[in-house]
Symmetry: none
Subunit: 224 residues, 2 copies
Amino acid sequence: MSPAGSTRWCPTPEQVMILEEMYRSGIKTPNASQIQQITSHLSFYGKIEGKNVFYWFQNHKARERQKLRRKLSKQLQLQQQLYHHPNNHHFLHYFDSLASPAFQHLSYYNSPSPFPQVEVHEDAAKQQVMNYTWKLDVPEKPDIDKSMTKMYGGDWLMMVDLGPSLSSSPPCYFSTARPPLKTLELFPVSATTSLKEECCNNSSPCNITSNNSTPPPKVVLTLP
Amino acid sequence: MSPAGSTRWCPTPEQVMILEEMYRSGIKTPNASQIQQITSHLSFYGKIEGKNVFYWFQNHKARERQKLRRKLSKQLQLQQQLYHHPNNHHFLHYFDSLASPAFQHLSYYNSPSPFPQVEVHEDAAKQQVMNYTWKLDVPEKPDIDKSMTKMYGGDWLMMVDLGPSLSSSPPCYFSTARPPLKTLELFPVSATTSLKEECCNNSSPCNITSNNSTPPPKVVLTLP
DNA sequence: GCAAATTAATGATTTATTCAAG
DNA sequence: CTTGAATAAATCATTAATTTGC
């Protein structure tokens, strides 16, 4: 829930629906007066502030434009493909797929290096690429002790965190030994602790590192 | 369960139980390290991969949210039905507050349905209402038309936009002086709040940065 | 009872949003 | 503003429940 310390507005579905309706109705850049009215009315559905409305319209407008642009360019590319000989399709398709949002994390199409991270061949279909990355699955190299695997979408990437004592963040819910006999007794973790940990999740390095010298202060819950 | 040639992971009851227990314990979005631990330990009960764990938490979280949202929607519909009922004092009360000066320039009161309806199923109706309500642009002071709102140090300020047509006029500061509408107190919107329970806002930076303040020197490797 | 047909759950992908660094 | 990084939402797809007719 949005705790007191929450930094960001989480619109309720209704708020979003209404905002989108307004946008479609012609309100693209509400002025302050409008923003205030909108805010007041949306507050019926949940906590909301003027800035939330403002930013929402800003972003929404920007991204609608972006969407449109993307759609147009896609159409253009398709049209251009029609004029090309079938032999060229491989290439075009490939770059098409690279340009798709699904690959934004691999490399932007305007990136200087079009084949930066995952080596794929021209004939590799999108699907194949995805499967490819997943098949590798987790680690193997020993030095990844200190590595963090990060996932984005369907991809499984390896992130080596050179930062200090990253192992401190995730509390260990297991012993490294074999699984317990009574599974349910394994997790009588206090909600507080685990929730706290939860909020720290997301990749953003949770290192609460007062100094790098402290070796991994792992928390191991003892099994019954 | 999981046939040999199965294309997708079929969790064993034990695995599901453990995963659910962990979720309840607060693990909503395990990081890569946690995923690995979970995976290796759940593998005791059957074949499992990291991505399975990753997807499981993603899906579970999403579907819990979904459940809550649906519940909320139903409640909202009920509330709105109440609103339409002439005898409802709460809502009448609410609309009394709408009569405040802040809304005088909106034609809410001429509208057959003064409140933006959230009709999930009736797109046409929704559209109608919204157009009716919001299309009529606000007769605001023209001077803030080209204004821009900006966040500054947690405060919400109004700034004159230096963009296209910079009309210089007294900017309108509205956010700090909110109208005395107290809509939230009239209705139990706790459901909304609890919905956000999921949010587990990631935005909160978890790092209590150390002294050396070395920015996380991360290297992203892609597995071959 | 028991499969074929249907439907509900849920694993896996893809697309859209969000945040904030540059 | 642009864009990288991450998440959430939406969607696709397959498996399990279940219904149905025999």
